[in-house]
């Protein structure tokens, strides 16, 4: 019978964890924190931000892997803070900080990783393209009103063709889940239609908490 636990070596210590988890989940179970920006318990992991990289040794090969999308396997050796991993994460944070210099969560990560001077020129983006809003809308709300348009550095979260969405239900999950707290629902939708029951209503942004709600 297959045992429902496996043994990993994480940062030099043998750990027994539940089978069927990702390396990230297994590490968090052991109380080891790995930084993430695009990971959310409620969403399918996509391995996009690459902050959660760890050194994984299996079958004699050591590779840098995104822990959120790497299944933990019996006998795997995981290094979550080797010099290579520390340097890699630091570079990724510097790249994100250059893109979004005003975003609190990025600034905090940069501080935690000891980033002092950033060699890259500052940009003025407020979105670091973690894609959580897009995934939440598709996976949790089941609507899929937004997607990532264009590609490469020009990528941008948008409703199709940049037009106001006619499938968005104005639930605001996208704004709530946004780790940068900058997603603007008004870009997607300005009026909410509740199955024609109560007619069309305006979406209003709370001046205190900045979340959206349906006006009456």
């Amino acid at each position: 019978m297959i045992s429902d636990t496996i043994v990993l070596v994480v940062d030099g210590k043998k750990r027994r964890v539940r089978r069927g988890q990702s390396v990230l989940e297994a590490a968090r179970d052991c109380g080891i924190e790995i930084p993430t920006l695009c990971y959310h318990e409620a969403l399918e992991p996509v391995g996009a931000c690459r902050l959660c990289v760890v050194d994984v040794t299996s079958a004699g090969r050591t590779r840098v892997m995104a822990s959120c999308v790497t299944p933990a396997e019996d006998g795997m050796i995981v290094g979550t803070n080797t010099p290579r991993i520390v340097e890699t994460r630091k570079m990724i944070v510097m790249l994100l900080l250059a893109r979004c210099p005003t975003i609190e969560i990025v600034k905090r990560l940069a501080r935690e990783m000891g980033v002092k001077a950033n060699p890259f020129p500052k940009g003025d983006e407020t979105c670091f393209l973690c894609g959580m809003c897009v995934r939440a809308c598709a996976e949790i709300v089941g609507v899929g009103a937004i997607g990532i348009a264009y590609r490469g550095p020009k990528s941008e979260v948008q409703p199709p063709f940049g037009q106001e969405s006619n499938v968005c239900i104005g639930c605001g999950t996208c704004t709530t889940i946004c780790p940068a707290r900058t997603f603007d629902l008004a870009k997607v939708f300005s009026r909410r239609s509740m199955h024609q029951v109560r007619g069309v209503q305006e979406i209003i942004r709370c001046t205190v908490c900045e979340d959206h709600y349906t006006g009456t």
Binding site: M91, P121, P153, S155
Partner: protein
């Protein structure tokens, strides 16, 4: 090629690949047909469209049988003389492609360096068949391997031959094809499995997949049918980019013809094997050549890679086990099944078996597609097949593996080309792009060019590739403009390492290669740009200055006439003046200044 009646039968074949069609092959074919019916009395002359010979430099190419004479750069007005050759046997020396100038004998294909040093397996029907004729393909052992596989072999045996052959994926990564098939075969697929042909070739300067699909589509289809048989798939897709109209047209036509003849569809060759192929046209995103992005694109989603595992062989297209191979890989399958895996494995090097098709381009005399045994040295490729560097200039580097490949310096010219050796040199096999660079190529400019391409084509999903490549391009852009600063080289190296290690897909992970290899082999050029503000190859405009060398200038005024901005003035017979404030550094004066033996020296570049 065998021709029916040797005494009265003649055959003229006009290549119908993209380059030849663009060069006027249709008009040449029409002219030859008209001329043959007018003055070919008493002879049975066949004028046919031929498979691409891939010697694109010579387009349009005409081959004459018997004799195998090859004519290059043929015009419709040459038809009369060519038909005279058919009638009277007199060779049109003016048009003959000769590798031995001055020699009397007429060179045939087997004499010409470009052709004689090649080993043709994937391109086995090169120049021999009409791409749109199933009969031609069958006459050259086409679909024989499929017949053998369906009637004399079990699917396991087909798989066994491919495994034994040592064939590795020709699309770039070089994963053993047989192993890939086996994983897919062993994956449970109660709802069916897929095979996919990846024809989303997007490397600048590479066209082997296009040429294979255009000139021998059945070779690819037969390979896919064999793969489907071995794996247990019943449905296949050819994912081909829309920018290849001729390839799209021919592969669609070939599928229809094969279906009509019972070579695709239900109960192929009256056996219990059923398999059909559909064509999906890609919209031309480079990243869709990455297999998970390609599958997303077929499913109608955004073409972005996803992390693996699960591998396509376990969970691929629409969640079913899927096997994806590149065009060239598929084209190698039928000969392997027909002649045996051991035969294929006898070619090549210890770990890289068989042959590889390269698109040989850049500053080389003979450009085109070449197929050579693995382990052939770069020297043989550039000099024996390529005929040497254009204008006999000095070789500087050979760039392999497409935009995310690397530049191999001229010192390593004796490097045997296979997966391992290229990777040791810091480059990759990629899909087989091979760009020859001469001494007038600036390596920093080359790195800037490729990184700009990769920035444009990055899907933007993961941080290292999206942000990192952009930053690399910015730094390189500064360096070529003369704004490089201390620390740039180290920053490029650090960035390169992180992008390589941490990117999500293979395209991201290989994207720093052009920078890292040029830094490894041509660091002095970077330093010249950054610290001395000079471009040694005299390419980067911001870093070069043109001036007239008064002692050498004879005052011929050629440069005065050539200058588009009137920056050069001066009376005849007296040294001219070049106003650096007006000069736009187009180099036109430098090009035209060759008055006498001091050629090119009177206008000086520094």
């Amino acid at each position: 090629m065998s021709v029916g009646n040797e005494t009265t039968h003649r055959k003229v074949t006009v290549c119908f690949g993209t380059a030849c069609v663009a060069g006027g092959a249709r008009e040449v074919l029409d002219a030859l047909r008209r001329e043959a019916s007018r003055s070919g009395a008493g002879l049975e002359i066949t004028v046919a469209r031929g498979k691409c010979g891939a010697s694109c430099d010579l387009a349009p190419v005409v081959t004459v049988e018997p004799g195998g004479a090859v004519y290059g750069r043929v015009k419709p007005s040459d038809a009369g003389e060519i038909v005279k050759h058919l009638v009277g046997g007199k060779v049109v020396r003016r048009l003959a492609v000769s590798s031995r100038p001055g020699l009397d004998s007429l060179p045939v294909l087997a004499d010409i360096g470009f052709f004689k040093n090649q080993v043709l397996i994937a391109m086995r029907n090169r120049g021999r068949i009409d791409a749109e004729s199933l009969d031609d393909y069958i006459a050259n052992d086409g679909y024989l391997a499929l017949a053998k596989a369906l009637t004399e072999m079990t699917p396991e045996q087909v798989l066994g031959e491919v495994k034994q052959s040592g064939l590795r994926g020709r699309g770039g990564a070089g994963f053993p094809t047989g192993v890939k098939w086996e994983i897919c075969r062993n994956s449970p697929g109660p709802d069916g499995k897929y095979v996919i042909c990846n024809a989303d070739e997007g490397d600048p300067g590479a066209f082997m997949d296009r040429s294979l699909l255009e000139s021998d589509p059945h070779a690819v289809l037969e390979g896919m049918a064999l793969g489907a048989r071995a794996i247990g798939a019943d449905c296949g897709y050819v994912y081909v980019r829309e920018e290849y109209p001729l390839a799209c047209e021919r592969v669609i036509k070939a599928i229809e013809v094969a279906r009509d003849c019972g070579l695709l569809g239900k109960n192929i060759m009256s056996t219990d094997f059923s398999f059909d192929i559909h064509v999906v046209r890609g919209a031309g995103a480079f990243v869709c050549g990455e297999e998970t992005a390609l599958m997303a694109s077929i499913e109608g989603k955004e073409g972005r890679p996803r992390p693996r595992p699960p591998f396509p062989a376990q969970k691929g297209l629409w969640g079913k086990p899927t096997n994806i191979n590149n065009v060239e890989t598929w084209a190698n399958v039928a000969p392997i099944v027909l002649r045996g895996g051991a035969w294929y494995a006898s070619l090549g090097t210890a770990k890289s078996k068989g042959t590889k098709v390269f698109s040989l381009v850049g500053k080389v005399k003979n450009t085109g597609l070449i197929e050579v045994e693995m382990g052939t040295t770069l020297r043989q490729i550039v000099y024996d097949i390529g005929g040497g560097v254009l204008k006999d200039k000095k070789l500087k580097a050979v760039q392999t593996g497409g935009p995310s490949g690397g530049c191999i310096p001229a010192d390593l010219i004796d490097l045997p080309v296979d997966y391992e050796e290229l990777s040791k040199a810091g480059s990759i096999m990629g899909s087989g792009g091979l760009i020859v660079m001469d001494e007038e190529t600036c390596m920093v400019d080359v790195a800037h060019y490729f990184v700009s391409f990769l920035e444009e084509e990055s899907c933007g999903k993961c941080t290292p590739c999206r942000e990192g490549i952009t930053r690399m391009r910015e730094i390189l852009g500064r360096i070529v403009k003369g704004e490089g600063k201390r620390g740039d080289i180290e920053l490029l190296q650090d960035l390169g390492k992180v992008i390589k290690d941490a990117s999500l897909c293979g395209l991201g992970a290989t994207s720093p290669n052009p920078v890292l290899t040029t830094l490894k082999y041509f660091r002095d050029e970077y330093e010249a740009h950054i610290f001395r503000k000079r471009c040694p190859a005299k390419v980067c405009k911001a870093l070069i200055v043109y001036r007239v060398v008064a002692e050498k200038c004879t005052g011929c005024q050629r440069c005065v006439k050539a200058c588009p901005v009137q920056a050069i003035v001066g009376p005849r017979s007296q040294p001219h003046n070049l106003d650096p404030a007006k000069c736009i550094k187009c180099g036109a004066c430098y090009e035209v200044c060759k008055f006498d033996a001091i050629a090119g020296d009177a206008i000086y570049v520094e």
